[in-house]
Amino acid sequence: MHDVLPPALTQTQLDTALQQMRVVVGKDWVFSSEEDLSRYRDPWSPADDREFKARAAVAPDRIEHVQQILRIANAHRVPLWTISTGRNLAYGGPAPRLAGSVILDLKRMNRILEVNEKFGYALVEPGVTYSDLYRHIKERGYKLWIDCAAPAWGSVIGNTLDHGVGYTPYGDHFGMSCGMEVALADGDLVRTGMGALPGSSSWQLFKWGFGPYVDGLFTQSNMGVVTKMGIWLMPEPAGCVPFLITFQKEEDLHLITELVRPLKLSMVIPNGAVTTYATWEAAAHCTRAKYYRGQGPMPDSALRRMVEDLGIGMWNFYGAVYGPPAITRIQLQVVKDTLLQIPGSRFYTEDDRPADSALRYRAQLMRGIPNMAEFAIVNWYGGGGHINFSPISPPTGEDAVKQFHMIRARMHEYGQDYLGEFAIGWRDMHHLACIAFTRDNEAERRKAAELFGVMVRDAAAAGYGEYRTHLAFMDQIANTFDWNNRSLWRLHERIKDAVDPNGILSPGKMGIWPKSLRGDAR
């Protein structure tokens, strides 16, 4: 790999900045060798590593060092790319959008500053993972549950800032955040919400504070470096009953979605509920090769044999109810009365399927128990690489079916199995479709990236926008949000120019570029 410098940055400027950073954090925590930097890559990425290669990395362990690093970077115009744990794999992981950036690696800032059982919250630093927080709570016997993303190694802050979701009633991670501390590009430090009132005891209790609510500006963006965040934690309920309902026909998707919607709106099913397609479900049990080794999408005959053999549905709906048995019994009866109207549907709890590894890991997630089992999806083909396509739609049967057919057709056209699931939130539906490829195979990688681009265009044309993406597609997807001549992105740019005039913070994140790098300047 060759050395890369970002535009307009000289080697001298960079060397001077790095030397000053070594004085701040110690030479052991500034990384610049090829060997060091090879670890700041996303091994599941659809892109060549050289496209998103870091030039160096610096790893502070305290806020004062973060501030000093920001001032140094600002003085020398060094672009920084901030990561929490850098485990957002297949979205870029620890790699920067702008090649040649210096990674600001916050993994060493991993303190759990407070867990408050009385009010149900934690205050954490960026390097705290879901596993860390879960272990901390268990070791101390707090009667609190976390809501974790599917892979346990993710950062609580990082996942929240990327608009990630989970599977308990606290599944809207940003919705459940409360209060941030943010370091700005010039090193200034801000506490949002009630944290701006010295001595406030409500920083993690009341989101809105006084005046404009700015927390959102620091999510999926590059306006500041979040160094602390409050997250609400659910009091341990008196009971929890996760369940699975299997459905036998593809056509059932319409009615499943229509029947689930009122149960979600009324919070009979209060958690992040999911409807998985047969292939996504099967991946938790086995790899594709067990049922089909040929090229192209798995034929219907193999699909049906797999479904029958594994005892799963063409669609599989996961939800949970929470509370004492007297309440959950009634909630479950409402769920059954509603969803079991669909012919061929069957209802299961964990006791009914003790050997079912999919139900087991989903039940853990619905109880806020972190695990890594969802990564079985990466093993479906075994190539390691994948891109997640995840357009947002209303939770209607019509939209679910339209998206399913649209996306499956494209995936089949490109020789892929349709690997998908629908995650139904309160009033939204995320359709996750996983495009898998062999990372070492450049042709497969390029084809997967091409397929993704086509699906983004298809979805946008139908009014469905993406909610999150890999570095390589941030510009393309930002450009789909172009109502009124890109007015929202022009607003992002105006704010960016005001709070980070030298453009040192994560240039290009979500298609937001500093002035010096906009358009043809890149």
């Binding site: 670890r39 091994p43 992981g93 695990n371 089992a373 079985a376 990466v378 075994g382």
Partner: protein, 102 residues
């Protein structure tokens, strides 16, 4: 104000706190993907690519410490690298020793 003797005792305990063992490092950082049984994607992938007999890392007798160190620090295909900010050299040495059974 804490009595000085208590403060000294706390410092003494911290100064002599044991480094985690290889088994502890494995449990905390590796087992979610590499423990035996279903539910663990690393074990599942090794079973598919290397066969069942080589799928459970703690059962293997062919792993060298050098190989484990290299794979954990640098990654290998689907397995991502673990940076020094995530796992120290000491932690990787401990788990390498544990898995290579040296």
């Amino acid at each position: 104000m804490r009595p000085p003797t208590l403060l000294i005792a706390i410092c003494w305990v911290n100064a002599f706190a044991a480094e985690p063992t290889g088994a502890e490092v494995f449990e905390q950082f590796c087992s979610a993907c590499h423990a035996s049984g279903p539910h663990h994607p690393g074990t599942q992938l090794l079973a598919a690519t290397r066969g069942n007999s080589r799928s459970v890392l703690t059962d293997r007798t062919d792993l060298t410490a050098e190989f484990v160190r290299s794979v954990v620090r640098n990654g290998l295909r689907t397995m991502p690298p673990f940076r020094p900010t995530e796992l120290s050299n000491a932690q990787i040495d401990a788990v390498a020793k544990y898995l290579s059974k040296q």
